[in-house]
């Protein structure tokens, strides 16, 4: 079991962000985490990463309890945050090199990994560019490269394709599948249903801090209706309602 | 009026840091001006130097007379005659002037080679200048008596010198009906306001302009069906209101500090002049706000406010600044503001000639303000269609 969350409760003051939340992610899965805005997706991810204090419950990663000091676990995790997290004063190459260097100390090994990462996201022509000069799509690709350069066994991506053109998005999705084939377990959150349908092996839908549905795409569609034209979007709206969220 | 409303919202968000700034700069202005107090009206006083005397010529009659003379005119500080204690006292300004009378000084005055007195003082201070003068007068008077009355006895000599040196010109400080003698203190406060008003303007306005200058917001604003004239007007309006609030607080405090002294024509003119300066300050802030980034605002503020205040006579009075410096400073509104305040401070006769003169200076301040606004307008127009 790559991730095992048991009965997790996380409150922000009086607001219950995660309400007795339990989750299991197996090795080799591409796991989709869906939910309306404010459902607790990002909070769940931050708890998995041991960034947040939790009120009760446990989080295990790679069958070991997760904590901020668990460096042996952390070195095998890669994160691609929702906000682009790169330094404007470093070039594309320097950014990837810096963040990879927090995981891989050996310079020779790291250089090779950085090259691979640049190639992987297709930023070869932009190695010497500064983030300010990159378009939204390229920035996202850089963001991804910074998160996966060290070849982690678990990759968490929080809405990685926001504001990205179709070519880049396709590129990213293909890349994720490739990473998965190379052996990484993926956790993927997004609002884009087509993406989820395309690549996720298992899906969990959250709302108000609880899981309200889980299964494969097929299973979820069947649970709502057996119409051939039912899309995952319909399933989602069915389960979470059509009201606007925050 | 959307832009204006946005201004109000941003101003409210920025309130904590604005309060910090207002508090600090108000505190500074009040502190400095309360330290710089001139004597009460009608009194003429000479500041007494903090003086330490080491008289090694114990038997010298003239030396004793000198000690007595200096003691009457200065604030005597007792000090141990060791170098460390002396250094400490000078370091902490417990003493401003030290004079050492060497052995045999009195007697040597009658010879061809009189011994010199030793002095240690803080150079450039008016008190040391004044004490120099006192000592020199005393000594030269002594030498004159000795030269022209060689047979005069020491005792007679001391008595003559005592009589001469005790002559004191009476000074009458004229008071005028409509003029408050405390006006000078009010002028000091308003001069220091140059620092506070400008600092608050730049920090406050830039805080707002940085948010508004954020490129996405700017683009959103530019696409809106609002003329650039309307947008600029609303931004100006918002800033003017901010300026008015700051002005009211800072000038208003003076009414608490100086009470009835504020209800004179002089004070009224000072308030008006401060208003003119505020306009210049806000316009300058608008110009700066177009360029500044959050990290550099503090440094820019310091350079401009402290720098112009130093060369314009806020911290060092204008009469002590060289003419080259003053010419350079005259390219800043601060210089004219201080100059105007100083003139208003001593004005008794509000003739049209006098009023026109200070009015002219105030107009120069307003002119600076207008100039800054025009430049700011052009800069922001250029930014509109730049490559950014």
């Amino acid at each position: 079991m790559v991730i095992k969350i048991n009965d997790l409760v996380k409150k922000y003051g009086d607001l219950v962000a995660l309400d007795h939340f339990s989750l299991e992610v197996k090795e080799g899965e591409i796991f989709g985490l869906l939910g309306p805005n404010g459902s607790g997706k990002t909070t769940a991810i931050n708890c998995i990463l041991a960034l947040l204090t939790i009120n009760s419950g446990t989080v295990e990663v790679f069958d070991k309890p997760m904590s901020p000091d668990a460096y042996d676990i952390k070195k095998d995790i890669g994160v691609v945050f929702q906000n682009v997290a790169v330094f404007n004063e470093l070039t594309v190459y320097e950014n990837i090199n810096y963040f990879c260097g927090l995981y891989v100390i050996d310079k020779v090994k790291r250089a090779a990994l950085v090259e691979e990462a640049i190639e992987f996201v297709g930023l070869q022509e932009f190695r010497k560019f500064y983030p300010k000069k990159l378009s939204g799509g390229l920035l996202r690709r850089l963001n991804i490269a910074c998160g996966i350069a060290h070849k982690p066994k678990l990759i968490i991506l929080d809405e990685p394709t926001v504001a990205v053109d179709p070519q880049s998005r396709n590129n990213i999705l293909e890349g994720i599948v490739r990473l998965n084939k190379q052996g990484a377990t993926i956790i993927y959150t997004t609002h884009y249903m087509e993406e989820v349908e395309e690549i996720c092996t298992r899906i969990v839908i959250m709302d108000r801090g609880k899981i309200i549905a889980s299964g494969t795409t097929q299973e979820l569609k069947e649970s709502v209706g057996s119409d051939e034209n039912t899309t995952l979007n319909d399933v989602f709206l069915n389960l979470t309602g059509k009201e606007l969220r925050d | 009026m959307q832009v204006f409303k946005a201004y109000i919202i941003i101003a409210k968000k920025n309130l904590p840091q604005m309060l910090i700034y207002v508090g600090i700069f108000l505190f500074i202005a009040v502190m400095i001006s309360s330290l710089n107090k001139t004597p009460p009206p009608g009194e003429f006083s000479q500041a007494k130097t903090k003086l330490a005397i080491f008289n090694n010529d114990i038997n010298g009659v003239v030396s004793k007379a000198l000690v007595k003379f200096l003691s009457d005119k200065s604030e005597i500080v007792t000090l141990d005659n060791n170098s460390e204690k002396i250094q400490d006292a000078l370091f902490f300004r417990n003493v401003e002037y030290i004079v050492k009378i060497p052995v045999g000084f009195s007697d040597s005055l009658r010879t061809q080679n009189p011994i010199q007195l030793e002095k240690i003082s803080v150079p450039g201070s008016t008190s040391s200048f004044y004490t120099d003068m006192l000592i020199n007068n005393f000594v030269n008077t002594t030498l004159r008596y000795i030269k022209f009355e060689p047979s005069i006895t020491d005792v007679q000599l001391a008595s003559n010198i005592q009589k001469d040196m005790s002559i004191n010109t009476p000074v009458v400080v004229k008071t005028y009906e409509t003029y408050s003698g405390n006006t000078q203190n009010v002028v000091y406060y308003f001069n220091y306001l140059a620092y506070s008003l400008m600092a608050i303007s730049i920090l406050g306005v830039s805080g707002f302009m940085i948010v508004f200058g954020n490129i996405d917001i700017r683009r959103r604003n530019l696409c809106a069906p609002m003329t650039s004239r309307s947008m600029n007007f609303q931004i100006l309006l918002g800033n003017m209101i901010f300026a008015a609030v700051a002005y009211i607080i800072l000038v208003g405090i003076s009414f608490f500090l100086y009470g009835s002294d504020m209800f004179t024509t002089n004070a009224a003119l000072l308030c008006l002049n401060a208003g003119a300066f505020m306009f210049a300050a806000i316009s300058l802030s608008l110009l700066i706000g177009n360029f500044a980034k959050p990290n550099s605002i503090s440094a820019i503020t310091n350079v401009i406010t402290l720098g112009t205040c130093f060369i314009s006579g806020v911290f060092v009075p204008q009469q002590f600044l060289g003419s080259a410096v003053l010419t350079f400073a005259s390219f800043t509104p601060t210089y004219w503001y201080v100059k105007t305040n100083n003139e208003i401070g001593t004005m008794i006769n509000f003739s049209s000639e006098n009023l026109m003169r200070v009015g002219g200076y105030a107009l120069i301040e307003l002119g600076f303000g207008l100039l800054f606004l025009i430049i700011a307008f052009f800069v922001s127009k250029r930014k509109r269609v730049s490559n950014n």
Partner: protein, 385 residues
């Protein structure tokens, strides 16, 4: 790992052009302007001429004052202190009222000075009148001592002339190797302020390292590195840049503006280093501690450095002396003042006791701030990010 973080953070800081430019430029620009403002002060003789009026009267025409004024206000003489207008009483009153003169003198019943306020110029006029009257008294005394001799006009004139010659029997000695000086304090306070501005670099570094302050910080927190290592590397890079900037400013002040810091280079460098560390740790501490937005942090840092500099005498040097006289403990509690006094003691004192007291104070502050920062940052998890 330390080196990796150090090198990259160094690149980040140097790439932030605005911050580098302004933290360097502001003390240089201000120093230049200070220098301009003070350039005239050193020579006290450069006071501008004082306008006075004298009420003409028979008494005046006979007086010593007339002779001395005649001597002192010769238009050609550049040493002349006064611009004198001889007029009647009504005019004189008017001139005073309209600020055309600083004071007027009347000889009715002996010399009297009429002024409107009690300022430096008025004191100078009074002193001048005192001296003149005193000279007159001496003159009369001497004449009275031998009336026969002074019936001879030659002797009288000789006496008169002698009254204008002055011997200077005052020798300036120094209490220490340097003269006490009021203006250098402003420059020392400037350096202190420049050190405190290192706080903005501290702000930047802590911001890049805390998950609740930036997403880049979140990346650091999920990486398998001890936050302290990253902190050390970041602060070391910031210190290097800040110290380098201070050295540039010092070089400018000493070599170009010729401000006197004394010649003990080693100690100067040491104090500057301590000052840089202080500023940096102040910024780090404020950033780590204050939970509100960036604007508020900047506001606090700016406000604090201004206040501390103010109390160290930056705008008005007497504030500093006021504090040391009345509440001396405050002088030691002000880090800016410690830096300023540290430089001044190097300049002024012969031995180093006071210097080390000040240096020690700076280091104590730095340590406290670093410990404080560590205590806040050491929390590994956040309540929210």
């Amino acid at each position: 790992m330390f080196l990796h973080v150090f090198v990259n953070r160094l690149k980040c800081i140097l790439g932030d052009r605005q911050i580098i430019f302004w933290t360097l430029m502001f003390p240089i620009l201000l120093g230049t302007l200070f220098n301009l403002a003070f350039s005239n002060l050193a020579s006290a003789e450069n006071f501008s001429k004082i306008s006075i009026a004298v009420v003409d009267s028979p008494a005046y025409q006979k007086s010593m004052l007339k002779t001395v004024i005649g001597f002192v206000s010769q238009a050609a003489s550049s040493d002349s202190m006064f611009v004198v207008t001889l007029t009647d009483e009504k005019q004189a009153i008017d001139l005073l009222k309209n600020n055309k003169v600083e004071g007027y003198i009347s000889m009715k019943n002996g010399p009297k000075l009429f002024v409107k306020q009690s300022g430096i110029n008025q004191t100078i006029i009074k002193s001048f009148l005192d001296t003149t009257s005193q000279m007159e008294s001496t003159f009369n005394s001497i004449v009275k001592s031998d009336p026969v001799k002074y019936q001879n006009p030659i002797n009288l004139i000789q006496l008169q002339l002698s009254l204008t010659s002055n011997a200077n029997l005052l020798k300036e000695v120094s209490a220490s190797k340097s003269k006490p000086d009021t203006t250098v304090n402003y420059f020392y306070t400037l350096i202190a302020m420049a050190c405190l501005y290192g706080g903005f670099l501290g702000l930047k570094e802590i911001g890049a390292l805390q998950a609740d302050l930036s997403t880049q910080g979140a990346r650091i927190n999920v990486a398998p590195v001890h936050k302290m290592k990253v902190l050390m590397g970041s602060l070391a890079a910031a210190l290097l840049v800040n110290y380098a900037e201070i050295l540039v400013v010092l070089a400018y002040l000493i070599l170009v503006l010729k401000v006197n810091f004394g010649d003990q280079i080693g100690y100067i460098l040491l104090l500057s280093l301590a000052g840089s560390m202080l500023g940096l740790s102040l910024g780090a501490f404020v950033t780590a501690l204050v939970k509100k937005g960036e604007g508020v942090k900047i506001g606090i840092l700016t406000g604090v450095s201004m206040m501390l500099s103010f109390f160290a005498g930056m705008m008005y040097v007497d504030i500093k002396y006021l504090i040391t006289k009345n509440i001396p403990i405050l002088g030691y509690l002000n880090p800016a003042n410690l830096i300023t006094d540290g430089f001044y003691s190097l300049y002024f004192y012969d031995d180093h006791t006071r210097f080390f007291i000040n240096l020690g104070g700076v280091l104590v502050f730095t340590t406290l701030l670093c410990v404080g920062t560590y205590l806040v940052l050491r929390r590994r998890r956040y309540a929210s990010i």
